[in-house]
Amino acid sequence: MALLEVADIHVFYDKIEALKGISLAVEEREIVTLVGGNGAGKSTTLRAISGLLHPRQGSIRFAGRSLAGLGAHEIAAGGVVHIPEGRRIFGRLTVNENLELGAFTRRDRRDVATDKEQMLVLFPRLRERLKQLAGTLSGGEQQMLAAARALMARPRVLLMDEPSMGLAPMLVEQVFETIGRINQQGVTILLVEQNAPMALGIANRGYVLESGRIVLDGPGRDLLDDERVRRAYLG
């Protein structure tokens, strides 16, 4: 059984049906990516999984347990951590405070300290800026901070929404490299990206979304070579 199972979810914004029956599965230790154009429903899918939105129909199961009726904070505490789109760090707090907030649900103070040290090894730039306000970091650094903060929660599944958005090409590569490293540490990743070639390149499997439906799925390499995907997203 897959670690994360989404079965036929329908999500509405008022009367508009944003997701028209999405089903997908993510196995433990996989990187799975959702690609598709604007308004295809990629971010909405992530928001439904993390509990920020509630599907009107369908089910979401994590490690065999239904997530229906749980609040976003409970889902996060259970090990599904969402990094929303944009550079959503706490700009008015320091880098250090941001990292500590990542471990908000954890009580094991000593392990938290070790994890923080590990994050600072993984992202050495953050160590230099530990006491600085997060809002003063550069775009790339903010994205690193968002990832490091999410990892502080020791997630089993990381939901990443457009981590490369608005970054310079060189930084984009760096971000994807980081995603790979995080995955190697045993974290399962569900990745939403506009940058389809990079995302499909790193992912084990991918789903292609179009106006609230999944139109194609398969191993990342295959999708990358698929003629339809190429024409639609890769130019």
Binding site: L52, H73, V81, I83, F90, F104, Q132
Partner: protein, 549 residues
Amino acid sequence: MMRRAALIGLAFGAGAVHLAAVGVLLAMHQRWIIVEALTLGQAALLLLAGGAGAMTRGPVMGALAGAAAGVPVVALLAAMSLVPLNSIFIALSHDLFNMLTLGVGLAAGVAILIGGGAIAGLVGVLLSNSSQMVRRAIFPGAISVVVAGVFQELIQLMLQQYEGPVGDFRDFIYTWEGLSLQGAIAIFVLAALLSEVFGFIWRMRAERTASHDHRRERMVRAGIALLILVLLPMLGGSYVGQVLMLVGLYILMGMGLNLEVGLAGLLDLGFVAFFAVGAYSTALLTAGSAHALMHLPYWAAMPVSVLLAVAVGVLFGLPVLGVRGDYLAVATMGLGEIVRVIVQSDFAAPLLGGAQGILEIPKPSIGNFVLGNPVSLFYLTLVASAVAAFVAWRLENSRLGRAWEALRDDEDVAQALGINLVRAKLLAYGLGAAFAGLAGSIFATMLTSVYPSSFQLLISINVLALIIVGGMGSLPGVVLGSIVLIGLPELLREFGEYRYLFYGAVLIVMMRLRPEGLWPSDVRQRELHAEDETLALDAGTDAVPAQPR
């Protein structure tokens, strides 16, 4: 350049005309700063001309701006002598005319206004370009003279019991009317000297200890402020005690609202409701009148009142859980008004006394000692504030405090990190309400009666204004904000009707010049001056490469 200077001057002059037309200028003219030499009103005019000058560059432009500031006033004088304006603007009276012309007639008065404006503008621009050393002498000196002059009654009252050297000093600087010219000069020189000496010592220390301990220095300043606060009512008597007690109540409320607005980012314009709940609870639990439900001693009623305020705070939070931003301000304002309307209604009158209120609330007592006079009640407020400040300080640095800051910055991300939004928000309202409930409880026993009319929307706005002026999220800021926005207007009673004009002006000036507040929290200061700090840090990392730990 010239055009700009003239425009600045005209704008400041228009400000002076405004002050004259609403009547505050003449009211200020009734108060001497220095007897027979300078009134508060004249000082305000000089300040406006000087301010216009300070915003320009170069002595010529400064003088031009200052002179231009006189032009609208001259135009007002001309209009006043041609048309009987005071049938519309009652403040534009003959007395005002005499004040503005110094009683020497129109022609000479015009010359004095323009010439005086030019000189003031020149002084303004010279001061703004002068060295730190000069400014460190002049500003404290001038401010001390104004304080000593304007509050002469109060200060004389405090000093009147002394004989010997203090008495001699008092007789030297004050006549029975107010500050004398020789006294003003003495105070100016003294304050300027002290400022220079302390500034010098401070710089020496800063040089010796390369990284001066910012935190400790602030603690020392806070400690001195506290000591003054403790000693002042003992010296100043019951009037000062009463004013300080009011300041104390607002400090309590400010600390509570600070948790909601400053930390959790939940704008609340209905804060007065919690104050009312605290006051009415205490009234119902202790009063000697027919409305009382019980006759508890005050010390038992106070904690119950606080708990009831917490309960109402949580209830209050429930309907507005999903409301954000501007809508939250409107929604909370409505809830606050609902509480007042219910209390005032005939429907609740059998229980709460309606518009007649509840009377005969006893004063608290310790053993046989009744805390009857304002000074002893002030000390009660002080102790309550100290306890509350400690709680607020601990909360800020707690897990809950961090959670509040997180949801203030980004609710979605806060949830995604496992913060329970509902719980955090309700706790913010509940704990914020506790502070207001405590303030309300003391307020009830201070007045020995409660009326619905005491719990107007304006109180909520005052509390919000004082934490904005003091500095969002900063505890010492709350104290400073209360003193400036609550204490000062109480001491300047005769300008009472201009209180909100003063508030508005202070808020606008603050937002322009010092948006982080008078005494900002570390975070706000870092945020608003983040740019310079980043530069400094970058420079720092260049000089010293990061050390691996």
